[in-house]
Symmetry: C2
Subunit: 457 residues, 2 copies
């Protein structure tokens, strides 16, 4: 287990020679929660298979946890509370991080990378926040940084994006990347129930956490969007660059309105390459609930499943589907990465580096072209549609579809329901159109406003 | 462009040093048909992007074709009819093969690999036939052999299978891997038309070739099944190991019968790890039309699209969806591989080797557990069901569902339709059950026999 000359390129060279003689690959595991326990199980149960696939035995050297007593199943001599010591220990080639959160994960992984150790992490928050810093450390030391588990759990997605499609030009990535919100929206779609009661049911069934904020407010999806956009467009996108809306405002009425248009509501993470009139490129990364056609491959992704729809110039449309969370699926992705980085060490090479050469600017949400669905309760009298259409015209928003249905009841004065779907226009223009519409005398209520996505353009 | 010490490890070592100083990666293109032309286009249009992704310029050194006059768009100084010379030319690091067929592709690629050159190929027939030989040559020379384009066109599938899921245990791969047959079956399902007229329509629309044998008789899908099974189970499976039935026998009646069971007919490539009573493992690879539940993710894969459904112990169910054929999608996959092998050369490493360590036996079709759907026209008199059930019992085939519907008409004697779906049993037992049923006096006609797949077990 002793290995001289750890750190930087010298350590790698020595390691390479030793590895080719079958020196074991030493692994440090940081964290032992839901995912960590499954990683441990797979490391043990699949030891022979892993060795065959890597070309050398894979040896677990330690497991860093906060409270060792809570882990009676882990051999005591592996447990440690001193994660920093474990990361720096002789013989550690690969550090697997499944702690989550920014610190201490960030410092530990930076130390690992600077010491020439390869890193496998499932930590989307850390990558979305400090990705460039980690990439930089990995590049400087010639070490691998792999994170398949950070987006869409077990779905092999990051490797296809950064490797299989490396010779193509990706134009758009549209993902359902949060299982909790997809479970809630799928349930609202099939039951017709409202948001609050469906969230309650999701909590009862274990699909939503006690504090569901990170999921329902879109923070989790936004972190994944940042990672996906960085990889798809070879540029740097962080959390702060992602526009975000959650699903708490989605009403039973929105879901019904979507159904009437042959659509369904999904929380989408959208990463798009946008070219403006002068040919200048920028990147838009955004998360919000949107109505997509029921015929779209993403529409049939139900329950807690995840799927990512990728559009590329040559490849056309691709979709990746699978379980986005859970201990075993996430551990499967972690082990896949472990095999890759361990193989790289045995072979003496390393995987593809970060490619952030494109260095594209981020397009602000206001300027991003989107389409809106707007449902209004209006007074049922001549000239209303003309008044409404005038507001759209003033904002240079072009209308694609209008549907007007009369409504009469004894309780309220004669009214009509007006459903409008727009062509794409800058988001700011659409927003101020909606604001102006809400202020019109003839508009009694803005029933539903939601973006529409996924149409063939 | 001159590079001393070509061939084997010495050539690689020299290349490695030179590459890190930005030496261009030399590419030879063998073949310039539908896919080749698109590869050429992408190599030219994406030259800057490719260089950025690879870390060195990618330079096309020659294009081998049979009839140079047919390629007026290719710069004349690149064209050659001497493919063997091009493969051996100084400065060629990567050979891209899009000729198809066994020879001369096999000899050319073996020469390339033995000379230490990396190979990217879209040739499924060659891989399914001579995979082990090519793998052996690649291993011996320390060169890369990549073939993402050989299965399911642009869908990034092989890399996820052999890399992302390398830490998991794949139990089953079920794919729609032939666009022509999926187009025909999808059309039969929506139109109710028969096989012959639908094939004619597919030919007219360009979805079927003039000689559609390789597609409709399942040879193309079988070659892909061999490749998928090898990768998924880390063992060697060749064309000859794959059981194969095509779609020419699928009738409009079969499609209707499937619909009545809430199913749809798809030509499936199935690769399965089977464990027998004693715990011994074997591999089953087979291609046939089967009825799958309409709720199965593969059921909604329509037209010429491809999709592959993967089941793994930890990852659970995954699906990969996209365009399975066509010049541009296939070229996208070829370019992805080119970037990977070029990156490996720049870094001085190489990708994962063939892992055929499992060395599993092939389970003959007769012994493979399958389930059958059987539709019979029987005499409508008491005791018929008992007689039929007796045949199943004699073959130890357990019945899951029986549905009997009376039928009366002036033209024929009173009869009934009997639909039976079985539990899984060895295929040979099911076949002889059907043979015996056909010989029964009370059975007037065997209307439809088809395997059923995709049920949750």
């Amino acid at each position: 287990m002793s290995r001289p000359g750890q750190g930087g390129s010298q350590g790698r060279a020595v390691g390479r020679e030793a590895c080719s003689q079958g020196r074991p690959i030493g692994v440090a595991l940081l964290g032992c929660g839901t995912v960590g326990r499954e990683v441990l199980r797979l490391l043990t149960e699949q030891a022979d298979e892993l060795a065959a696939r890597v070309g050398a035995p894979v040896r677990l050297l330690g497991v860093a946890v906060r409270r060792p007593r809570r882990h009676p199943d882990v051999p005591a001599d592996l447990l440690t509370t001193d994660a920093a010591e474990l990361v720096g220990r002789d013989g550690v080639d690969v550090v697997i991080e499944v702690i989550g959160g920014i610190e201490p994960a960030r410092s530990l992984l930076l130390d690992a990378l600077r010491g020439g150790r390869s890193v496998v992490t499932a930590n989307k928050a850390l990558l979305a926040e400090c990705g460039p810093e980690l990439y930089g450390a990995a590049d400087a030391a010639g070490a691998d940084l792999y994170f398949e588990a950070a987006v869409a759990g077990a779905i092999p997605l990051l490797r296809p994006l950064r490797e299989s499609l490396a010779g193509d030009r990706i134009t758009r990535v549209t993902g359902i990347v949060n299982g909790t919100t997809n479970f809630i929206l799928s349930a609202m779609d099939s039951s017709g129930a409202g948001y609050a009661e469906t969230l309650e049911e999701a909590s009862r069934l274990g699909y939503a956490e006690a504090d569901p904020t990170a999921d329902v407010d879109g923070y989790d999806a936004a972190a994944k969007a940042a990672i996906l956009a960085s990889l798809a467009f070879h540029t740097r996108v962080t959390n702060a660059d992602v526009y975000r809306e959650g699903i708490a405002e989605v009403s039973a009425g929105d879901v019904i309105a979507a159904r009437q248009l042959g659509r369904t509501v999904k929380l989408l993470a959208i990463c798009e390459r946008v070219t403006d009139g002068s040919g200048a490129e920028s990147v838009s990364a955004r998360v919000y609930p949107a109505m997509i056609p029921r015929s779209h491959p993403l529409a049939s992704v139900g329950g807690a499943f995840n799927a990512v729809f990728v559009e590329a110039d040559a490849a056309g449309a691709l979709m990746f589907y699978g379980q986005g969370a859970g201990g075993a699926p996430t551990a499967s992705a972690v082990l896949g990465d472990l095999v890759a980085v361990a193989r790289n060490r045995v072979a003496g090479g390393y995987g593809p580096r970060e490619s952030a050469y494109a260095d594209l600017p981020i397009r602000p949400m206001e300027d991003t072209p989107t389409s809106y669905h707007i449902s209004l309760e209006v007074a049922d009298r001549p000239g209303v549609l003309a008044q409404v259409a005038q507001i759209f015209a003033e904002h240079e928003v072009s209308i694609m579809v209008v549907r007007q249905t009369g409504r009469s009841s004894d309780d309220v004065p004669a009214g009509a329901n007006l459903v409008i779907v727009t062509h794409a226009a800058p988001d700011a223009a659409l927003r101020s159109t909606v604001d102006k519409l809400a202020g019109l005398d003839v508009v009694r209520d803005v029933v539903s406003v939601m973006r529409v996505e996924g149409d063939v353009t």
